[in-house]
Symmetry: C2
């Protein structure tokens, strides 16, 4: 072995020591050594220089990174739709990093291409999509955009060549609680924010189909074309599921593309019971996306976008051909070159971690996990209702708990303060959400090791912190 | 420690053994155990199941993955614009995978956000951009699209809200040798492929500015609006650099956005001499993108898009606000939340590997590497010219060598056959490119450890393989 290989292995050994200490010290250390940007900038000394190719450089920065990074695998991290990552997924990321390849073509990435195809078939089966296709994207924002782009390009044979100039105005519809990536999508695609119609939600946070029909009629009578509806399967804040079966019915009349955005709540797909409850009618959607990096715990980013019953749609929508070096149409086995029908040229090997997670936990493992999260959400709601100091801001719809401390005076300011105080004391970094202008604490169960005792303990600490702040404010 | 932590550390230890063997065995093993898709599918037995959370599962699949993956860090891999990855970059990917966070907000990712801002400042300085901004994207296809979207949205205050309906036709211009991601960009953005004008190239493979001006006049006189020009800094096949200074002059007259796509050849920026030679005028471009995952060797994906002299452009173009939970405009420190002005919601921590590479090799290290690649390309051209059996398909422009075996008869078929044979014999997986219909072998020097002796050895093997095929064809 060369001297350099020896050095590299030494570097990786040092790294492994740091990794081990990072992963095993979670109970003892706080989840975050929180600093303001200016203060942290100074502490980091980003300008610090050492010799060229000095292994100590890497040691120093990795330790520094681990020290000030937020420990998302800590029970105190309740900020996002994920917490930590599956060990199998971390293994996959490491193997992908070491083997360093591009998942765009079979020639360079034979194994990952086959794994990706295999996983997409698994997911198409679960979704009940027939004659389906799918791709891994760079995230659910990207997936939602590609779904909308597919609906747009399918409107005419000439959309790809002519563009939107002079075209009848196109309108997309989402609930007022839908994810802002749909706003980004109409911006990217040249459709414009004014042509994204936001349909009011009912008391449960679900898109109101009567209002949707009204808005579609309004659009049609003004000469516009309704072409795309996103049904959110688990809204970001409230966890509401838009009524798919009623939207499917409306589609018969208006012929729009019906996209199911299950980035968050699509994970219910693993559990027979929860799928029936929340995803009924999914097999009739035109497309469906879900993030494995949210509830299922796969390392960031791991998204899949599935298409129903339109063979060749990805090629029709995305492929613009390349005549110089890659993905030539006439080349054999093009179905094995995901680069040809995705919007990326270089593609990370995300399929390996996805495949490893699937093989390690299996469908049953994911079903059990999602069902546990659901039970914990039920328990959390019960705890809030039974605790005098707490109240639900809105009733629970599925997995999301939107609650607050029931303080005297301005509840919004109090709960913002409470959230900051919980972070300052290292108890929890919890998400803040806004519902009709009201500040809510949003708690999502996404830590695979979280059990009832942790949840009860978390609420106890929130209440005691709230009490101490409440006392102070009454002084 | 819990039983599960022990198990996870054991899993990572096993993985480390596999990683060590993968990384150190490169000289001995072939770069690829090449199989056809059907054959490999059978060998992989992707349906194979074991118990839930069985560590042997991971061991089996990682070993299988490593076995059949193409070894891109092997000298035989000459297929892409990268080969293997920097050790510091691998360290960064591993640390990012283990710490699992989302680089969209300072709250969840304080260190990586500061590292990203630091690196963007370094790059803005190198590019000579003043009052600049930048973002890491999901790849150069994405970066090119965002640059074009920026130009489009800047055309009017209402583009974001109104979209392209009824708008004057917009035209973008690229050289006929530009990357196909620009085709994808006009498709995504609703501009349409017909509005992407491909300007012929001169003998050097550079966009012809006289033809560009002619095409712009034609567009204007037909009532269209030229709004965007991509100057390719290092074309995919020939490695040509479009003439930036002449395009800057044309911009005075036509007021388009001038984007410099340096995904490949932008790496010349590290070397004073090569920057002068290839990137003169860059400081006057409106935007510039380059991939650290190509010549600089950073692990896939690592792209940066830079904007010149338009403060607030990213916010204006990309931010559509979110009122529910993240990135609220009124929140303090928003400049520390890259999620607000990028098109992604969840963002991988790509900045850590980028930062580590920068600190480990330093600017001087990258300069030395890029200059070596340039010298090797010069040497390669010389070898081809001095070898009777070989010929250049076109003269070398910068880093790319487009050559072929000078066989009797149909040279295209012969060189396609030669390429396959080189792969079959495990000598090299070299890229195939097409220039005016002619098959060319495209050799790029992107392996950081490649030296003259390796290059000479590679050419010797190509010639001897060609000779044996040539003899066969003459039988």
């Amino acid at each position: 072995m060369s001297h350099q290989s020896d050095r590299d292995i030494e570097i990786l050994k040092n790294l492994f020591t740091a990794v081990e200490s990072f992963l095993t010290s979670d109970r003892g250390m706080p989840y975050s050594d929180r600093k303001e940007p200016e203060e942290l900038s100074e502490l980091l000394e980003l300008d610090l220089e050492r010799g060229i190719e000095d292994p100590e450089t890497l040691k120093h920065w990795v330790e520094t990174y681990f020290r000030y990074a937020v420990k998302t695998h800590h029970f105190g991290f309740n900020n996002r739709m994920w917490a930590g990552a599956n060990i199998s997924s971390i293994v996959g990321e490491i193997a992908a990093a070491v083997s360093q390849t591009d998942a765009g073509s079979y020639e360079a990435a034979p194994v990952s291409v086959l794994m990706e195809k295999y996983m997409i078939r698994q997911m198409l089966d679960l979704a009940g999509f027939s004659r389906g296709e799918g791709q891994m994207t760079t995230g659910s924002s990207n997936a939602n955009m590609i779904a909308m782009m597919s609906a747009r390009n399918l409107l005419s044979d000439h959309m790809k060549s002519s563009g939107l100039f002079g075209h009848q105005k196109l309108y997309a519809f989402v609930s007022s609680d839908a994810h802002y990536s749909l706003d980004k999508a109409v911006n990217i695609l040249g459709i414009g924010l004014d042509q994204l119609v936001k349909i009011p939600v009912d008391d449960h946070g679900r898109m109101d189909p009567v209002m949707l029909q009204k808005e579609m009629d309004r659009v049609v009578s003004s000469g516009g074309k309704p072409f795309f509806v996103t049904a959110t399967m688990g809204t970001t804040v409230r966890g509401a599921y838009d009524p798919l079966p009623e939207l499917v019915k409306l589609r018969e009349q208006y012929h729009f593309w019906l996209h199911a955005d299950g980035a968050w709540g699509g994970a219910a797909i693993f559990s027979y019971r929860l799928k029936e409850k929340y995803l009924a009618g999914l097999e009739q959607a035109d497309s469906f996306t879900m993030d494995f990096h949210k509830m299922p715990g796969t390392s960031l980013i791991c998204n899949v976008l599935l298409f129903n019953n339109r063979p060749g749609i990805m090629d029709f929508v995305c492929n613009v051909g390349d005549k110089s070096y890659l993905h030539r149409k006439e080349r054999e086995g093009e179905e094995y070159n995901p680069g040809a029908y995705s919007l990326q040229c270089g593609r990370r090997v995300d399929s390996l971690k996805w495949f490893l997670d699937w093989k390690f936990y299996k469908k049953e493992g994911f079903a059990g996990r999602i069902e546990k999260y659901h039970r914990l959400a039920e328990l959390g709601e019960q705890i809030v209702r039974e605790t005098e100091e707490l109240e639900m801001v809105v009733p629970r719809e599925s997995f999301n708990l939107c609650f607050r401390y029931n303080a005297e005076g301005d509840k919004n300011s109090f709960n913002e303060l409470l959230r900051k105080e919980l972070h300052k004391r290292g108890i929890t970094l919890i998400a803040q959400a806004f519902i009709a202008g009201d500040v809510s604490l949003r708690l999502l169960m996404t830590h695979k090791d979280m059990e009832e005792e942790h949840l009860r303990g978390l609420f106890r600490k929130i209440v005691s912190t709230g009490r101490s702040l409440d006392r102070l404010s009454q002084l």
